[in-house]
C-alpha cells in the first residue's frame, strides 16, 4: 500500500499545516465547562474539551521537546541541576552512562556488523531482518537511553539524510551507515556529518552517485545534496550547478568486495568547477576537492538557514519564524557548523519558550513517548521477528522506521500526520500498550495505582494522571473519566476497583488530544 508510495510530503515550500497555532485558542473559544450545564450530561460535551492542564513546571516544555517523553527521572534531574545545566549535560552525551542500553542493543547481532559481515550472516536477505533489528535498536535507544537529546538528533539526521532500508542492497548498507556516519556525528559539526553521509555507501547507492562516472553522470545525488541536504531548493543554485556537482563527485563509489567507500580515480571527472562561490583548486588531490566543496556547502549561509529552519520545525513549530532562523543561523556559522551551540540557543530562545502545546508528536515520537510515560521497557530480544505486533502498530501509524522511500525523510508537520487513520492508530496503540498487548514490551501499571486505594475517585485520577503525564487533569478530563467509569468524583473506591479502572484510565489519558502534542 502506500508504505512504499513516494509520498514526498514536503514542508519546505509553504506551510501546509492548517491553523495549528490556534489550537489552544480554539479550545478557549468554546469552553463547554464554563458555558455550564454539566449536569445535563453528554450533550454539552460536544464542544471543546481540554482534559489535561498545565503542570506549572516552567521546564516542562523543554523536557517534552528534548526527550521522547517526560519521566520522573528527567524531572528530578532537571530540578536538581537546572534547565541550562541539564541541556549542557545532554549535549555532552558521551559522558552520559549508556552502558545498560547499549548492552541491551548488543543482543541484536546485526547492529554491530559491517556490510560484508551482514551479507555473510544474512544471505538472501529478503525478510527485512536487518532493517527490523535496526528499527528495534533505534526504538530501544529512544525509549531507554539517558542520552535523550542525542537520540532525538540521531532521528533528526536520519530523516535529513534519509536512506530507506527497503532495497535488498540497502538493507546491508543502512545499518552500517547509521553506526558509522549518522550516530558519531549527530551532536557535532554538520560539515563532518555531511562528508560522512556523502561517503557512506548507503547514500552513494541510494541516490546513485556510486554509478556516476566521468562522461556518464547520474544527477540524482547532486540534486538532493543541494536541495535536501544543504542549501535548500531556494538556496541559489541552478541546473548548471547540479551538473557541476555531479561531475565533481564522479568516482565517489563503493568497493563491491567490502561494501566500503571507494574513490575511483579512473572514473573521476577532473575538470574545473565553480559552484556556489567555490572554485576547484589546481592541485591533483581530486578526492579532497569533493570534501572541500562539501565543507564549503556546509558553511554556506543558505545551508545555515536551511538546517536551522529544519531544527526549528522539529523542535519548536511547524511554521518557523524567520527571525528565529536568523538567530540560530548566526550561531551555526559562528561555531563552524557545530550543532550543539545551536541547540543551546534554540532551547533558550523566546520563541521556543512561547511554543508550548503547538507541536504534534510524530507517530514514532508518540509510540516511544507513551512507552516512556507508562514506564515500559523492552525485553531482551535477539531478532527482529519478535517484535511483530509492535511493528504492526508502527505500520498503522504510518512511520515504520527506515521505510520512508523518498530522500526527504518522514514529514515533520502536523498537516501530513493529523488524519483519521493516524489518530485511530494512536488510540489503538494507547489501549493496546496499556493492556500489555505487545510481547516485547514490559508494562506494569502497578506503580501508577499503588498506595491510593480507599480515596475519592477524583483524587485517585489526579494522582494517576500526575504519575503518568506529570500534568494535572482538568475538571473536564476528570468529568469524562468519571462518566466513563460510571462513578462520581467524590465516590470513595478501594484498590480492587482501581485495579480494574486503571486500564481505561491510563489508556484514555495516553490517548487524549492533549497528549498528542508537546
Amino acid at each position: 500500500m502506500t508504505d512504499t508510495a513516494l509520498q514526498f510530503v514536503d514542508a519546505e515550500l509553504t506551510p501546509p499545516g492548517p491553523i495549528e497555532t490556534t489550537r489552544r485558542e480554539a479550545l478557549r473559544l468554546d469552553d463547554w465547562f464554563k458555558v455550564g450545564a454539566a449536569a445535563t450530561g453528554v450533550a454539552v460535551l460536544a464542544s471543546a474539551c481540554d482534559a489535561i492542564g498545565d503542570s506549572g513546571n516552567p521546564d516542562m516544555l523543554l523536557m517534552k521537546r528534548a526527550t521522547y517523553g517526560v519521566t520522573q527521572d528527567v524531572i528530578d534531574r532537571v530540578a536538581a541541576i537546572g534547565a541550562a545545566a541539564w541541556i549542557a549535560e545532554q549535549l555532552d552525551w558521551t559522558n552520559l552512562d549508556t552502558t545498560a542500553i547499549e548492552a541491551k542493543v548488543a543482543n541484536l547481532p546485526a547492529i554491530a556488523m559491517t556490510a560484508a559481515q551482514l551479507e555473510a550472516a544474512y544471505p538472501n536477505n529478503t525478510t527485512g531482518e536487518i532493517a527490523g533489528q535496526l528499527a528495534v535498536a533505534t526504538s530501544m535507544r529512544q525509549l531507554e537511553s539517558p542520552a535523550q537529546l542525542y537520540e532525538r538528533m540521531v532521528e533528526f539526521w536520519s530523516d535529513h539524510f534519509n536512506v530507506p532500508a527497503t532495497d535488498n542492497i540497502l538493507r546491508y548498507l543502512k545499518a552500517p551507515e547509521d553506526r558509522e556516519a549518522i550516530r558519531p556525528n549527530a551532536l557535532g559539526k554538520f560539515k563532518d556529518l555531511l562528508v560522512a553521509s556523502a561517503q557512506s555507501p548507503a547514500m552513494l547507492y541510494y541516490l546513485d552517485n556510486a554509478f556516476s562516472s566521468a562522461g556518464s553522470i547520474n544527477e540524482n545525488y547532486a540534486r538532493e545534496l543541494l536541495e535536501l541536504h544543504t542549501v535548500g531548493v531556494f538556496g541559489g543554485y541552478d541546473e548548471v550547478d547540479i551538473v557541476a556537482v555531479a561531475n565533481l563527485l564522479t568516482g565517489w563509489s563503493i568497493d563491491p568486495a567490502t561494501g566500503l567507500f571507494e574513490f575511483r580515480g579512473a572514473q573521476h571527472d577532473t575538470s574545473f568547477q565553480s559552484i556556489l562561490g567555490w572554485d576547484r583548486p589546481g592541485d591533483t588531490n581530486y578526492l579532497d576537492h569533493g570534501v572541500q566543496f562539501l565543507q564549503h556547502l556546509a558553511t554556506h549561509p543558505s545551508t545555515a538557514d536551511f538546517i536551522c529552519t529544519k531544527l526549528i520545525r522539529r523542535f519548536v513549530t511547524d511554521q518557523p519564524d524567520p527571525a528565529m532562523v536568523a538567530d540560530l543561523a548566526a550561531v551555526y556559522l559562528a561555531n563552524d557548523t557545530d550543532i550543539r551551540p545551536v541547540l543551546t540557543a534554540l532551547f533558550s530562545h523566546a520563541t521556543f519558550l512561547a511554543s508550548s502545546g503547538s507541536k504534534l508528536r510524530r507517530p514514532m515520537e508518540y509510540l516511544v513517548g507513551v512507552n516512556r510515560q507508562i514506564g515500559a521497557s523492552f525485553s531482551t530480544i535477539t531478532s527482529a521477528g519478535a517484535i511483530g505486533p509492535l511493528a504492526g502498530s508502527a505500520v498503522q501509524l504510518g512511520q515504520l522506521p527506515f521505510q520512508w522511500p523518498a530522500p526527504n525523510g518522514y514529514p515533520d508537520v502536523a498537516g501530513a500526520w493529523l488524519n483519521a487513520g493516524g489518530l485511530l492508530g494512536r488510540w489503538n496503540l494507547a489501549a493496546d500498550l496499556t493492556n500489555d498487548y505487545f510481547p516485547v514490551l514490559n508494562v506494569d501499571l502497578t506503580p501508577l495505582r499503588a498506595g491510593i486505594g480507599s480515596r475519592p475517585v477524583g483524587e485517585q485520577l489526579d494522582i494517576v494522571a500526575d504519575r503518568l503525564l506529570h500534568e494535572p487533569l482538568t475538571d473536564e478530563g476528570r468529568y469524562v473519566l468519571c462518566f466513563h467509569l460510571g462513578v462520581g468524583v467524590n465516590d470513595v473506591k478501594n484498590s480492587t476497583w482501581l485495579y480494574f479502572a486503571s486500564y481505561p484510565i491510563v489508556a484514555l489519558l495516553l490517548a487524549t488530544a492533549d497528549n498528542q502534542y508537546t
Binding site: 509553504t14 474539551c49 556516476s212 556518464s216 544527477e219 541546473e239 498503522q396 488524519n419 485511530l424 489501549a431
Partner: protein, 415 residues
C-alpha cells in the same frame, strides 16, 4: 453514529469551514461566482447546489513517471538515438494513433482506449518547470505556484467552493498514511491507510470499549478534535465495509488502495473524490527494456491495477467514475549513465472512465528534436486538464477559486 456527534454535526462543519478560512487562507478563494458568504468573509457561496455529475479518483504517480516509456513516440528516430539502452522498440508497442504506442506492459489498457473510455495527453506539465520532486509535486497538488494561500490543495479548494452530493458523509477520502497536499485545507477529508485497518480494538479488547469516552475527549473545534470526530464518524460508517480478508485479488502493494476506492465508491458515503498514491517512479537507474526490468514491473503493476479497478467499477454499475493519473514531471529524454533517466519536464497524463473523450492522443506534441534543457517541452498546463475534470465531472466551474491566477484553456479531454 453516536448521538452527541449527530446533534452537532451540521454546526461543526460550518464552524470548521469558518476556522479554516478565517486564518487568511480564504482570501484568494471565491473571487468568482455567488454572493459573499455571511459566515466566511471572502469565500463565495457555492454558485449551484446541484449534485456533481460524476465522481473522480485522482492517482498521483510519485517520483516522476517516465512518460516516454509508458506512451512511446515510436515513430521518432530521436527517441531511439537518445535512449540506446532503454528505449521501447517500435515493434513491441501497442499502437494508439499511428504515432504513439503503449508500452507492452500497458497493453491491458488498450481495450479501454479503443472503447473510447481512455485518453492520453502528451507534454503536460507546470509552467515553473521545476526538476525538484517536492517543488513540482507541491505545484501540481496545490494547483498553483508555491506561494498560494497557506498551501491549500486544489481538491480542498474545489470542495470549499462547491456543495457536493447532498448529505455526504465524506466528500473526500485520501488513501494513505499521510495527508496529501491536494487535500490540505479541507479538514473534513477522511484520510486513512486502508479500510480493513480502520477499526478500534482489532488487536485487543480494551480499545474497543473506549469509543464513547474518546468521542467525548475529542469533541470540539480544534484540528485534533475535529479529526477525532471524523475518526469516530468513520468508525461507524466504515464498520460494515471491513472485509476481514477475501475481496478482490491483490496484484501488488498498490492494489489495496484501488480495491478500497472501489469499496468506498459503493458505500453510499457521498464521496465525490478519492486520492491514491502509487510510488516507485523515480527511475534513475536500471530501467530495463520492453520485456523485463524495473520499468516493466512498474507499468505492469499499474496497468493491471487500473484494468481491474475499471472492471470492478463496471461490475458494480458505477458508470459515473472518472480516474485521472498524473505525476510531478516527466524524465530526461536522454538516458543517464546508469540505465535510467534523470528528472525532466513535460509528461503524459492518462484519464479513463466516465465522460472521457477516449480513443485519442491529445496535446500538442513538441517533438524530441527541440528539447528544453534536454527535456520534453510543456505544451499543456496541468491546470487546464484538471479544470476540465473539475468542471465536467464535479460540476464546479469556479476556476477562480480552484485554480487562482490561472486562465483556463480547453483541452478536449472530457465529452
Amino acid at each position: 453514529m453516536t448521538t452527541q456527534t449527530d446533534t452537532t454535526s451540521p454546526s461543526r462543519r460550518q464552524v470548521l469551514r469558518g476556522l479554516a478560512v478565517s486564518t487568511g487562507a480564504g482570501a484568494a478563494l471565491g473571487a468568482g461566482a455567488g454572493p459573499a458568504s455571511t459566515i466566511i468573509p471572502g469565500l463565495a457561496t457555492p454558485a449551484s447546489a446541484a449534485a456533481p455529475p460524476g465522481r473522480v479518483v485522482v492517482v498521483f504517480l510519485r517520483g516522476g513517471i517516465d512518460g516516454l516509456s509508458a506512451v512511446v513516440p515510436y515513430t521518432e528516430p530521436a527517441y531511439y538515438t537518445a535512449r540506446p539502452g532503454i528505449s521501447i522498440p517500435a515493434g513491441s508497442v501497442t499502437d494508439l494513433d499511428g504515432q504513439f504506442g503503449l508500452h507492452p506492459a500497458m497493453a491491458p489498457l488498450h481495450g479501454l482506449y479503443t472503447q473510447g473510455r481512455l485518453a492520453v495527453i502528451n507534454s503536460v506539465g507546470n509552467p515553473a518547470m521545476s526538476r525538484s520532486h517536492f517543488e513540482a509535486q507541491a505545484y501540481w497538488e496545490q494547483g498553483a505556484a508555491g506561494n498560494s494561500p497557506m498551501g491549500f490543495g486544489w481538491i480542498a479548494r474545489h470542495l470549499l467552493s462547491s456543495t457536493g452530493i447532498p448529505d455526504a458523509q465524506f466528500r473526500a477520502i485520501g488513501l494513505g498514511a499521510n495527508t496529501v497536499r491536494s487535500l490540505v485545507g479541507y479538514q473534513e477529508a477522511l484520510v486513512m491507510a486502508s479500510v480493513d485497518q480502520f477499526s478500534l480494538g482489532a488487536n485487543d479488547w480494551l480499545a474497543s470499549t473506549l469509543q464513547t469516552p474518546l468521542t467525548m475527549l475529542y469533541s470540539g473545534q480544534a484540528p485534533v478534535e475535529a479529526t477525532g470526530t471524523t475518526t469516530v464518524q468513520a468508525l461507524d460508517d466504515l464498520a460494515a465495509l471491513i472485509s476481514g480478508g477475501g475481496g478482490p485479488p491483490v496484484y501488488n502493494n498498490s492494489t489495496q488502495a484501488f480495491n478500497d476506492a472501489r469499496t468506498l465508491l459503493g458505500a453510499g458515503l457521498g464521496t465525490e473524490i478519492i486520492t491514491i498514491n502509487v510510488g516507485g517512479w523515480d527511475t534513475h537507474d536500471n530501467m530495463g527494456d520492453e520485456t523485463a526490468g524495473e520499468m516493466y514491473d512498474l507499468l505492469d503493476g499499474l496497468a493491471t491495477n487500473l484494468t481491474m479497478f475499471q472492471a470492478g467499477l463496471d461490475a458494480d454499475g458505477h458508470s459515473d467514475v472518472t480516474t485521472i493519473l498524473m505525476s510531478e514531471f516527466g524524465r530526461r529524454v536522454h538516458e543517464n549513465g546508469s540505465g535510467g533517466c534523470d528528472h525532466g519536464f513535460g509528461n503524459v497524463v492518462v484519464a479513463m472512465g466516465a465522460g472521457i473523450a477516449g480513443n485519442q492522443v491529445l496535446g500538442s506534441w513538441p517533438g524530441l528534436t527541440s528539447l528544453v534543457n534536454g527535456d520534453l517541452d510543456v505544451t499543456t498546463d496541468f491546470r487546464d486538464v484538471l479544470a476540465e475534470i473539475v468542471a465536467d465531472r464535479l460540476g464546479n466551474t469556479d476556476f477562480a477559486s480552484v485554480f487562482p491566477g490561472h486562465t483556463v484553456t480547453p483541452v478536449g479531454l472530457t465529452l
